[in-house]
């Protein structure tokens, strides 16, 4: 049984490893030196699942970044050097991110204080009072997480949806001062703010050259939209790979 490589040691990647380890050796690669991804390395479920996978023989290559996929070789690098890992297919569980300003159709200036949700979330863990009246743009997993984090931090916020009916425009030269919403009819309302947090939707992260497009050769993308529950996210990753295994059983339906 040949080794299979999973990129991503977050919940989805851990789920991949759970599904694959019963069928042969598994290597999990992640550029972050700990498991857990956006769920956090110290989440009890993450720690338990990681421990269990280690016991079952998963090889961890953490602090190692997947750079290029040229089937069946994955080129990775880390502080110790570089390596080519053979796998077929590659299981890419690189996680998701919120949409960028351009993806949301947001226009205007680019002053200080317009920040991706993932970044805002990290900054809020410092427990500093960073903003007085941020606007959370969008809905979805990151919007929910940000609202939670801001509430925990005692920071009042407003939330604005991204909708085709409203053009969002950022105003402010040195730092953001307001977010304007202009309806198709032309009426405009303006929300004063000191930060705009881009938190809409969930877009799969794709950064390994050769494994960018959905149509990339011999890659199984395991990037379900993250739910709020870590167990669900691990299960979602496991389910995708289990289904793939079933469809690609030797002598099976594929």
């Amino acid at each position: 049984m040949s080794t299979r490589v999973v990129v991503g040691a977050g919940p989805s990647g851990l789920g991949c490893a759970q599904a694959l380890i019963a069928h042969g050796p598994v290597v999990v690669v992640d550029r972050i030196p700990v498991t857990g991804g956006s769920a956090g390395w110290d989440h009890p479920v993450i720690r338990q699942v990681t421990r269990r996978l280690t016991e079952r023989g998963v090889e961890w290559r953490l602090g190692v970044t997947a750079m290029r996929w040229s089937a069946p070789e994955l080129h990775v690098i880390g502080v110790d050097g570089s390596a080519q890992l053979r796998t077929d297919p590659l299981f890419f569980a690189g996680g998701c991110r919120a949409r960028t300003a351009v993806e949301c159709g947001i226009n205007g200036e680019r002053p200080a204080g317009v920040i991706p949700a993932t970044v805002a979330e990290h900054l809020l863990t410092t427990r500093q009072r960073l903003w007085e009246r941020p606007v959370v743009v969008g809905s979805g997993p990151w919007a929910d997480r940000l609202k939670h984090a801001l509430t925990d931090g005692g920071i009042p916020y407003q939330q604005v949806q991204v909708a085709s009916t409203d053009q969002l425009t950022i105003r402010g030269t040195e730092r953001v001062t307001s977010l304007a919403l202009t309806s198709i009819g032309g009426s405009e309302r303006s929300i004063g703010c000191d930060a705009v947090i881009l938190a809409d939707g969930a877009v799969p992260v794709r950064n390994a050259i050769g494994a960018i497009d959905d149509a990339a050769a011999r890659v199984v993308f395991v990037q379900p939209v993250p739910s709020g529950d870590v167990n669900e996210r691990i299960e979602a990753g496991r389910r995708i790979v289990t289904a793939w295994l079933a469809a690609h059983r030797p002598g099976g339906s594929s």
Partner: protein, 474 residues
Amino acid sequence: MGATGEFDVVVVGAGVLGCAVAARLSATTARVCVIEAERDVAEHASKGNAGIAVSYYGPPGIQQTELINASWPHWEDLTGRLQVPYRRIGAVMVATDDVQAERLEHTRDEIHACGVRAEMLDGADARRLEPLITPHCVAAISMPDEGVIDPMRLTVAYARLAAHNGVAFRFGERVTRIDHDDDGRTSIATHVGTRLRARFVVNAAGVATGVISELAGGETLHCWPRKGQYVVLDRSFGERLSKIVFSTHLPDTKGSNVVPTTHGSVLLGPTATDHDDADDRTTDTATITEIRRLAALLVPATADAPAIRAFAANRPAGDEAHRLRVDTIVPNLVHVTDRSAGVSLSPAAAERVWELLRGAGLDAREWADAAATLPRVAMLRTAADPRPLIAADPRYGQVVCVCEQVSAAEIDAALSSPIPAVSVDGVRKRCGAMYGRCQGALCMAGISFMTALHTGTGPSDVLHTSRGSLGSGR
């Protein structure tokens, strides 16, 4: 109480032209100080352009063309010495109807009259050269000497070389007074109380050229911002495009272009809108849509390529599109401005300013021991083999910006080299981190932390852009 100092030359403005002048003068015995209103170099037109190092821009016989001609053959040498990404990939100017095709004949003749290579092609040959060119191309000009360059890294490199050779830089200082003293020197004061005296002043202030000239009692120079909006396409599309694609130059406009960048992305644009607010760098949906529509006329495949960013920058437009001369009223004031080709003519413009200053009485000579090269900062993304880089410095194995494959070693260099980044955006300008498709979603937290460490700030007051912090407290 601000700083004081006596200099031979004060350069106002640290855009590509001001920094090129500073670099050139740093190889002489002149004592030079650069004053810049923003907190970093390349904060205006010099960071917001298409990154083309042209071989041709306008008709023969004008100074702008002479300076472009004196610059374009030397880019490989200069960028090699300064460690600036540059590729002479060539351009194709495309005509999609007979009116444009006839116009191309004139353009081709003009390019030849400038002494630059250009060859007429039919549509089929154009598409052999660049397969993504529209099937509606009826004629084209091949311009093999056009190249693409990283204008931000070029400006930083000029500044670094200047600083290495002893040029002083003052950032975040706006010139508020210029007085001519009885001893022939000129006093320059800034808004934080700095008072410098210089024998000569070089006005490289871009859109603020008119303001500086007025403060100095020089000519009334009409200058205004000309906004250009741009759209950046993902590098997955950039891999497929090998040539710069120009639209036919028409009498009133140079049109909108499709430009592979040294990052691997593709730039669409620019537009050109004269207005009156130099701080207005807003993008709008209607213009972005139009940019994409025009681009698709040249390269249809751009229509399906994902955009990762849109931005705008103001070019220094004025009653003169190009100005490099001694002021006619104030004999120790030299103006250097170019509306569109600043990057392209920066090497020769710097040389010309040095000549003008000497002609005006600057008592300085060449300094043979000046450095002419910068130390190499290797890029992980373009390294043929990363192993020796990582063996020499393990931080090359720590990929911080995964979209653009920028390592911790390069980010640290951006924060600790001379003319260091002082903001998160400054890191982006120097090493390309956060430039890619996730626009910092994965790496900006780590980079803001590294920036805070280097600048002695915290999560709240670390500078996000050169003008504002991440937190709103400052």
